[in-house]
């Protein structure tokens, strides 16, 4: 009965499940790509405007794509009773929940990182800010999954929790949006971005340590 084995088993199981129902990976990614490709069409032939707002577009799209994917985090486990079994496990729920969140990020957050460079070029983002864009996505998207998990855990017991979920979670996403968007913007103008990156790192570390606890508690409430 080792905790690390359970941790790895949960991640493995969720990855296999995601591979077998591919829409879970495809949906947020497709949404991310579609929104970003629609902006140049809507704005028209104004490359400078597009370039100026590119960091914002990419980050807002990433944020909405993350929101869209949140519900799948606990929904199917809640519906088929797997969540009950996870809660009954003698292992600490918060650790098992962290494994689920990590798997969720690997499935929904990581693919955004892979396509982001292509879309950034598409929007005319300067090449030298590409690295910073990827770094902010690498630090920021896990935070979206971690904070989002708290909202999902609170609303998974409600049949129509979608609206409440966005109201709960979006305000908490704002700091990530501000610092990440700002970092990419600054990097584009050749300014130092250490402060923003440090703040993003600290937000990530805090979320990593603190988020699983309320998620575990909220799931216990939801299951009742």
């Amino acid at each position: 009965m080792s905790l690390s084995r359970a941790f790895v088993a949960v991640i493995r199981r969720d990855l296999i499940l995601a591979l077998r129902r591919r829409s879970e990976i495809a949906n947020p990614l497709l949404f991310f790509i579609l929104v970003i490709t629609l902006f140049p069409l809507g704005i028209g032939a104004q490359p400078h405007l597009l370039q100026a707002i590119a960091p914002g577009i990419i980050w807002v799209s990433a944020l909405l794509a993350a929101m869209l994917s949140l519900d799948s985090l606990f929904r199917s486990d809640f519906d088929d009773g797997s969540l009950e079994q996870i809660l009954l496990s003698p292992h600490p729920t918060s650790v098992l929940v962290l494994a689920k969140i990590i798997a969720h990020w690997l499935v929904t957050g990581l693919p955004l990182l892979v396509v982001a460079p292509l879309l950034a070029v598409f929007l005319g983002l300067p090449n030298h800010s590409l690295g910073i864009l990827l770094l902010t996505l690498l630090l920021g998207t896990p935070v979206l999954s971690l904070i989002g998990a708290i909202g999902v855990a609170l609303t998974v017991g409600l049949r129509r929790g979608g609206m409440i979920l966005s109201l709960l979670v979006l305000p908490l996403y704002v700091p990530v949006l501000i610092f990440a968007g700002n970092a990419v913007q600054m990097a584009g103008s050749g300014l130092p971005v250490d402060a923003q990156i440090n703040i993003l790192i600290s937000i990530l570390l805090m979320a990593l340590v603190l988020a699983p606890l309320p998620v575990a508690a909220a799931l216990k409430m939801s299951i009742n």
Binding site: M1, R5, A6, V8, A9, V10, R13, I16, L17, R20, R21, S76, D79, D80, G81, S82, E84, Q85, I86, L87, L88, S89, P90, H91, L96, K220, I223, N224
Partner: protein, 207 residues
């Protein structure tokens, strides 16, 4: 499973109020190794609520549950119990083997290996079949196989005979008898009259 030591599950002064309706009040019971507690009562009388209180999914409105004399929170209760509820708790996109491996990873290994357990519930050879291809009765037997592969003393079963045929029911009854003979204990709800030989069955009628 330890045959030598005995375990006990005790409930005292339990009550459950749901939507301003009192489901049961001042309920007390005691169960020791080798015994079965059968909860009876009409629909909506609080059988499932009581099971969920025992599992810790719900807090009782009053009263305490003790495992071997200690409050559930301060005892290794969760390492020694297993629950099969209305929901099977198995993933239909995973194979039979993957599902059982997952249950095993969440708990510690028990009396039987996965293959022995599958043979016992008549699912041998189904290892690599996706669960969505199984019938309702087979799914139920799979979720009951979980009880055999993990280490546990207390089984909490909510309507374990749902969607099982006569053979399936007899099979589960045999497994339950064996479990009690090995020093285990069972709390269950059932509409089906259970037929267990040489087992001390206690009954609580909630209605």
């Amino acid at each position: 499973m330890q045959t030598q030591s005995t375990y006990s599950l005790e409930g005292a002064g339990l009550s459950c109020i749901r939507d301003d309706r009192v489901l049961f009040e001042d309920l007390a019971f005691e169960l020791v190794s080798g015994q079965v507690l059968l909860l009876e009562g009409k629909n909506g009388s609080g059988k499932t609520s009581l099971l969920r209180i025992l599992c810790g999914f719900r807090e009782p409105d009053t009263g305490d549950i003790l495992w071997c004399g200690d409050a559930v929170k301060d005892s290794p209760f969760y390492a020694q119990m297993a629950y099969v509820g209305h929901l099977d708790g198995i993933k239909k996109e995973l194979t039979v083997l993957e599902n059982l491996k997952m249950s095993l990873a969440l708990s510690s290994s028990g009396q039987y290996s996965i293959h022995e357990a599958l043979a016992k519930v008549h699912l041998a050879g189904y290892d690599d079949i996706l669960v969505q291809a199984l019938s309702a009765g087979q799914k139920r037997r799979l979720s009951l196989a979980r009880l055999l592969i993990t280490e546990n003393v207390l089984w909490i079963l909510d309507e374990p005979f749902t969607s099982l045929d006569k053979q399936g029911i007899a099979l589960i009854e045999t497994l339950m008898t064996e479990h009690c003979a090995n020093g285990g204990m069972i709390v269950l709800t059932s509409h089906h009259d259970i037929d267990l030989h040489d087992v001390d069955v206690r009954r609580i009628n909630l209605s």
